[in-house]
Protein backbone atom coordinates (compact mmCIF):
# COMPACT_ATOMS: atom_id res chain seq x y z
CA UNK A 1 0.00 0.00 0.00
CA UNK A 2 2.86 2.30 0.89
CA UNK A 3 4.46 1.46 -2.45
CA UNK A 4 1.31 2.38 -4.38
CA UNK A 5 1.13 5.61 -2.46
CA UNK A 6 4.75 6.33 -3.36
CA UNK A 7 4.15 5.53 -7.03
CA UNK A 8 1.23 7.94 -7.03
CA UNK A 9 2.92 10.70 -5.15
CA UNK A 10 6.22 10.63 -7.08
CA UNK A 11 5.14 10.59 -10.72
CA UNK A 12 7.81 13.01 -11.91
CA UNK A 13 11.28 13.85 -10.77
CA UNK A 14 12.66 13.01 -7.35
CA UNK A 15 14.68 15.64 -5.59
CA UNK A 16 17.20 14.14 -3.27
CA UNK A 17 19.00 15.50 -0.27
CA UNK A 18 22.24 13.77 0.52
CA UNK A 19 23.30 13.52 4.14
CA UNK A 20 26.40 12.08 5.68
CA UNK A 21 25.77 10.78 9.19
CA UNK A 22 29.28 9.58 9.90
CA UNK A 23 30.52 8.03 6.66
CA UNK A 24 34.15 7.89 5.58
CA UNK A 25 33.31 9.86 2.39
CA UNK A 26 33.60 6.74 0.21
CA UNK A 27 29.85 6.49 -0.34
CA UNK A 28 29.55 10.27 -0.75
CA UNK A 29 32.03 10.20 -3.60
CA UNK A 30 30.11 7.37 -5.27
CA UNK A 31 26.88 9.34 -4.92
CA UNK A 32 28.52 12.31 -6.63
CA UNK A 33 29.85 9.92 -9.28
CA UNK A 34 26.30 8.80 -10.04
CA UNK A 35 25.36 12.42 -10.79
CA UNK A 36 28.15 12.88 -13.37
CA UNK A 37 27.32 12.67 -17.12
CA UNK A 38 28.87 9.19 -17.39
CA UNK A 39 26.33 7.54 -15.06
CA UNK A 40 23.80 10.37 -15.21
CA UNK A 41 21.11 9.73 -12.63
CA UNK A 42 19.45 12.91 -13.87
CA UNK A 43 18.02 10.79 -16.69
CA UNK A 44 15.55 9.51 -14.09
CA UNK A 45 14.81 12.99 -12.79
CA UNK A 46 17.10 12.69 -9.78
CA UNK A 47 18.26 16.12 -8.73
CA UNK A 48 20.43 17.02 -5.79
CA UNK A 49 19.00 19.87 -3.73
CA UNK A 50 20.61 21.96 -1.03
CA UNK A 51 17.82 21.94 1.54
CA UNK A 52 15.86 19.04 3.05
CA UNK A 53 12.73 21.17 2.76
CA UNK A 54 12.94 20.93 -1.03
CA UNK A 55 13.62 17.21 -1.06
CA UNK A 56 11.49 14.11 -1.61
CA UNK A 57 14.20 11.57 -0.92
CA UNK A 58 16.83 11.42 1.78
CA UNK A 59 20.08 9.64 0.88
CA UNK A 60 21.76 8.48 4.08
CA UNK A 61 25.44 7.48 4.03
CA UNK A 62 27.37 6.13 6.97
CA UNK A 63 26.75 4.60 10.38
CA UNK A 64 24.68 6.81 12.66
CA UNK A 65 26.97 8.25 15.30
CA UNK A 66 25.72 9.21 18.73
CA UNK A 67 26.19 12.91 18.16
CA UNK A 68 24.27 12.99 14.89
CA UNK A 69 21.10 11.29 16.22
CA UNK A 70 19.15 14.49 17.09
CA UNK A 71 20.30 16.14 13.86
CA UNK A 72 19.17 13.14 11.81
CA UNK A 73 15.77 13.14 13.50
CA UNK A 74 15.34 16.85 12.78
CA UNK A 75 16.47 16.31 9.21
CA UNK A 76 13.95 13.52 8.71
CA UNK A 77 11.18 15.68 10.10
CA UNK A 78 12.24 18.60 7.89
CA UNK A 79 11.59 16.61 4.70
CA UNK A 80 7.96 17.17 3.65
CA UNK A 81 5.64 14.16 3.34
CA UNK A 82 5.55 11.89 1.37
CA UNK A 83 9.20 11.01 1.72
CA UNK A 84 11.52 8.15 0.93
CA UNK A 85 14.78 7.23 2.65
CA UNK A 86 17.53 5.35 0.83
CA UNK A 87 20.39 3.93 2.88
CA UNK A 88 23.62 3.78 0.85
CA UNK A 89 26.56 1.64 1.84
CA UNK A 90 27.04 -1.18 4.32
CA UNK A 91 27.34 1.30 7.19
CA UNK A 92 23.95 2.88 6.61
CA UNK A 93 22.37 -0.53 5.97
CA UNK A 94 23.58 -2.45 9.00
CA UNK A 95 26.19 -0.40 10.83
CA UNK A 96 29.17 -1.68 8.85
CA UNK A 97 32.24 -2.85 10.74
CA UNK A 98 31.40 -0.28 13.41
CA UNK A 99 28.09 -1.89 14.31
CA UNK A 100 29.04 -2.37 17.99
CA UNK A 101 31.33 0.59 18.46
CA UNK A 102 30.80 2.72 21.55
CA UNK A 103 29.94 5.84 19.57
CA UNK A 104 27.84 4.21 16.85
CA UNK A 105 24.12 3.70 17.27
CA UNK A 106 23.83 1.36 14.27
CA UNK A 107 22.42 1.52 10.77
CA UNK A 108 20.17 4.31 9.59
CA UNK A 109 17.06 2.22 10.26
CA UNK A 110 17.63 2.25 14.01
CA UNK A 111 16.69 5.95 13.98
CA UNK A 112 14.58 6.62 10.88
CA UNK A 113 12.46 4.30 8.74
CA UNK A 114 14.39 3.29 5.61
CA UNK A 115 12.65 2.26 2.38
CA UNK A 116 15.49 1.09 0.14
CA UNK A 117 18.83 -0.41 1.03
CA UNK A 118 21.96 -0.40 -1.15
CA UNK A 119 24.75 -2.45 0.47
CA UNK A 120 28.36 -2.19 -0.68
CA UNK A 121 31.55 -0.77 0.70
CA UNK A 122 31.25 1.58 -1.08
CA UNK A 123 28.54 0.49 -3.55
CA UNK A 124 29.55 0.85 -7.19
CA UNK A 125 27.89 3.74 -9.01
CA UNK A 126 26.07 1.07 -11.02
CA UNK A 127 24.83 -0.47 -7.77
CA UNK A 128 23.42 2.90 -6.68
CA UNK A 129 21.81 3.31 -10.11
CA UNK A 130 20.35 -0.18 -9.74
CA UNK A 131 18.95 0.80 -6.36
CA UNK A 132 17.39 3.89 -7.90
CA UNK A 133 15.98 1.75 -10.71
CA UNK A 134 14.50 -0.69 -8.17
CA UNK A 135 12.97 2.23 -6.29
CA UNK A 136 11.48 3.61 -9.51
CA UNK A 137 10.27 0.19 -10.64
CA UNK A 138 12.57 0.00 -13.69
CA UNK A 139 14.42 -3.10 -12.49
CA UNK A 140 13.76 -6.12 -10.33
CA UNK A 141 15.73 -6.76 -7.18
CA UNK A 142 18.19 -9.59 -7.64
CA UNK A 143 19.04 -10.56 -4.10
CA UNK A 144 17.26 -12.82 -1.67
CA UNK A 145 18.14 -14.59 1.52
CA UNK A 146 19.79 -18.02 1.28
CA UNK A 147 18.90 -21.04 3.43
CA UNK A 148 20.77 -24.23 2.56
CA UNK A 149 21.38 -27.55 4.25
CA UNK A 150 23.94 -30.31 3.77
CA UNK A 151 22.68 -33.87 3.87
CA UNK A 152 24.86 -36.77 5.00
CA UNK A 153 23.84 -39.25 2.29
CA UNK A 154 23.73 -36.90 -0.68
CA UNK A 155 26.58 -35.03 -2.32
CA UNK A 156 24.63 -31.86 -3.06
CA UNK A 157 23.07 -29.53 -0.52
CA UNK A 158 19.37 -28.74 -0.51
CA UNK A 159 17.43 -25.59 0.26
CA UNK A 160 15.66 -25.37 3.62
CA UNK A 161 12.07 -24.27 3.91
CA UNK A 162 11.73 -21.14 6.02
CA UNK A 163 8.42 -19.97 7.33
Amino acid sequence: MFKELCAKSFPKSLWVYHCNVGACNGCDIEVIDVLTPYYDAERFGIKLVASPRHADVLLVCGPVTRQVVPALKRLYEAVPDPKLVIAIGSCAVGGGIWFDSYNIVGGADTIIPVDYYIPGCPPRPEAILHGVAVALGLAEKEIESVHLKQLPDRPESVPVEVE
Binding site: V93, I143, L148
Partner: protein
Protein backbone atom coordinates in the same frame (compact mmCIF):
# COMPACT_ATOMS: atom_id res chain seq x y z
CA UNK B 1 33.43 35.87 -30.20
CA UNK B 2 30.62 33.99 -31.94
CA UNK B 3 33.21 31.97 -33.80
CA UNK B 4 34.82 30.90 -30.54
CA UNK B 5 31.43 29.89 -29.14
CA UNK B 6 30.71 27.88 -32.28
CA UNK B 7 34.09 26.20 -32.00
CA UNK B 8 33.32 25.31 -28.39
CA UNK B 9 29.96 23.86 -29.40
CA UNK B 10 31.57 21.74 -32.13
CA UNK B 11 34.23 20.55 -29.68
CA UNK B 12 31.64 19.49 -27.16
CA UNK B 13 29.60 17.67 -29.80
CA UNK B 14 32.59 15.61 -30.92
CA UNK B 15 32.66 12.94 -28.18
CA UNK B 16 29.02 12.09 -28.84
CA UNK B 17 26.98 10.33 -26.21
CA UNK B 18 29.05 9.17 -23.23
CA UNK B 19 26.33 8.17 -20.77
CA UNK B 20 26.11 4.49 -19.87
CA UNK B 21 22.83 2.79 -20.62
CA UNK B 22 23.34 0.96 -17.37
CA UNK B 23 20.03 -0.05 -15.80
CA UNK B 24 18.72 -1.07 -19.23
CA UNK B 25 21.89 -2.84 -20.36
CA UNK B 26 24.22 -4.87 -18.14
CA UNK B 27 27.59 -3.38 -17.29
CA UNK B 28 29.71 -6.05 -15.57
CA UNK B 29 32.62 -4.88 -13.42
CA UNK B 30 36.16 -5.30 -14.68
CA UNK B 31 39.31 -6.55 -13.00
CA UNK B 32 39.50 -7.90 -9.47
CA UNK B 33 36.16 -6.58 -8.35
CA UNK B 34 34.88 -8.30 -5.21
CA UNK B 35 31.13 -8.66 -4.94
CA UNK B 36 28.74 -10.89 -3.04
CA UNK B 37 30.66 -13.68 -1.25
CA UNK B 38 28.96 -16.89 -2.28
CA UNK B 39 29.26 -20.16 -0.35
CA UNK B 40 29.44 -23.47 -2.18
CA UNK B 41 27.93 -25.50 0.63
CA UNK B 42 28.93 -28.83 -0.95
CA UNK B 43 32.56 -27.96 -0.24
CA UNK B 44 32.17 -26.38 3.20
CA UNK B 45 33.56 -28.44 6.11
CA UNK B 46 32.37 -26.08 8.84
CA UNK B 47 35.83 -25.19 10.17
CA UNK B 48 34.80 -21.64 11.04
CA UNK B 49 37.91 -19.99 9.60
CA UNK B 50 35.80 -17.38 7.85
CA UNK B 51 34.09 -16.50 11.15
CA UNK B 52 37.46 -16.10 12.84
CA UNK B 53 38.86 -13.59 10.34
CA UNK B 54 35.76 -11.59 9.39
CA UNK B 55 36.48 -7.96 10.34
CA UNK B 56 32.79 -7.11 10.54
CA UNK B 57 32.14 -10.25 12.66
CA UNK B 58 29.06 -11.08 10.64
CA UNK B 59 29.55 -14.86 10.48
CA UNK B 60 28.39 -17.00 13.37
CA UNK B 61 29.22 -20.68 13.75
CA UNK B 62 27.08 -22.60 16.18
CA UNK B 63 26.59 -26.28 16.95
CA UNK B 64 22.88 -26.87 17.11
CA UNK B 65 23.00 -30.61 17.69
CA UNK B 66 25.32 -33.65 17.60
CA UNK B 67 26.02 -33.51 13.91
CA UNK B 68 24.71 -30.22 12.60
CA UNK B 69 26.65 -27.01 12.61
CA UNK B 70 24.86 -23.81 11.73
CA UNK B 71 26.50 -20.92 9.94
CA UNK B 72 24.66 -17.61 9.81
CA UNK B 73 25.90 -14.65 7.82
CA UNK B 74 24.44 -11.16 8.16
CA UNK B 75 25.83 -9.76 4.92
CA UNK B 76 24.10 -6.42 5.47
CA UNK B 77 27.31 -5.13 6.99
CA UNK B 78 29.77 -7.02 4.77
CA UNK B 79 32.61 -4.82 3.54
CA UNK B 80 33.56 -7.24 0.71
CA UNK B 81 37.19 -7.48 1.84
CA UNK B 82 37.51 -11.09 0.67
CA UNK B 83 39.29 -12.36 3.80
CA UNK B 84 36.81 -15.24 4.18
CA UNK B 85 37.50 -16.42 0.64
CA UNK B 86 41.22 -16.10 1.26
CA UNK B 87 41.34 -18.26 4.39
CA UNK B 88 38.82 -20.91 3.31
CA UNK B 89 40.82 -24.18 3.13
CA UNK B 90 38.36 -25.83 0.76
CA UNK B 91 37.80 -22.77 -1.47
CA UNK B 92 34.12 -22.98 -0.67
CA UNK B 93 33.72 -19.19 -0.55
CA UNK B 94 34.19 -17.23 -3.74
CA UNK B 95 33.88 -13.50 -4.22
CA UNK B 96 31.50 -13.21 -7.15
CA UNK B 97 31.06 -10.19 -9.38
CA UNK B 98 27.50 -9.66 -8.18
CA UNK B 99 27.01 -6.08 -7.06
CA UNK B 100 23.29 -5.49 -7.61
CA UNK B 101 22.37 -6.07 -3.99
CA UNK B 102 19.82 -3.35 -3.43
CA UNK B 103 16.43 -4.31 -2.06
CA UNK B 104 13.47 -2.91 -0.25
CA UNK B 105 13.21 -5.81 2.19
CA UNK B 106 15.88 -4.38 4.40
CA UNK B 107 18.29 -6.66 6.14
CA UNK B 108 16.31 -9.81 5.49
CA UNK B 109 17.58 -10.27 1.94
CA UNK B 110 21.21 -10.04 2.91
CA UNK B 111 20.92 -12.83 5.45
CA UNK B 112 22.03 -16.37 4.75
CA UNK B 113 21.90 -19.52 6.80
CA UNK B 114 23.70 -22.80 6.16
CA UNK B 115 23.31 -26.07 7.97
CA UNK B 116 26.49 -28.15 7.74
CA UNK B 117 26.52 -31.85 8.40
CA UNK B 118 29.37 -32.78 10.73
CA UNK B 119 30.64 -36.35 10.70
CA UNK B 120 30.80 -37.87 14.15
CA UNK B 121 33.12 -40.44 15.66
CA UNK B 122 31.88 -43.99 14.99
CA UNK B 123 32.61 -45.07 18.55
CA UNK B 124 31.50 -42.23 20.77
CA UNK B 125 29.12 -40.57 18.23
CA UNK B 126 30.49 -37.17 19.13
CA UNK B 127 32.16 -34.56 16.98
CA UNK B 128 35.88 -34.21 17.37
CA UNK B 129 36.84 -32.02 20.31
CA UNK B 130 40.18 -30.67 21.49
CA UNK B 131 41.82 -33.08 23.93
CA UNK B 132 41.53 -30.97 27.07
CA UNK B 133 39.36 -28.15 28.35
CA UNK B 134 42.38 -25.86 28.28
CA UNK B 135 43.00 -26.60 24.58
CA UNK B 136 39.41 -25.70 23.91
CA UNK B 137 39.94 -22.30 25.49
CA UNK B 138 43.13 -21.82 23.48
CA UNK B 139 41.27 -22.38 20.20
CA UNK B 140 40.66 -19.15 18.27
CA UNK B 141 37.41 -17.69 19.46
CA UNK B 142 35.11 -18.19 16.53
CA UNK B 143 32.29 -19.89 18.34
CA UNK B 144 30.08 -16.97 19.13
CA UNK B 145 26.79 -18.27 20.41
CA UNK B 146 25.02 -15.08 19.47
CA UNK B 147 25.42 -12.61 16.69
CA UNK B 148 24.54 -9.00 17.17
CA UNK B 149 22.90 -6.75 14.68
CA UNK B 150 23.93 -3.14 14.43
CA UNK B 151 21.71 -0.95 16.57
CA UNK B 152 20.27 -3.87 18.51
CA UNK B 153 20.83 -2.26 21.90
CA UNK B 154 20.35 1.30 20.77
CA UNK B 155 19.17 3.53 23.63
CA UNK B 156 17.60 5.97 21.18
CA UNK B 157 13.95 6.08 20.22
CA UNK B 158 13.40 5.76 16.46
CA UNK B 159 11.32 8.37 14.65
CA UNK B 160 7.69 7.31 14.44
CA UNK B 161 5.90 7.26 11.10
CA UNK B 162 2.35 8.37 10.70
Amino acid sequence: MIASKLKEAILSLRPGRVTLKYPFEPHPPEGDFRGYPEVDLDKCIGCGGCAAVCPARLIMIQDIDQNTRRMVRLLERCIFCGRCAEVCPEDAITMTKRFELSSDQGRKDMESEYLIFMATCKRCTRCYEPPSALDKVMEPGFRHDEIKRGGQNSPYEPVKTK
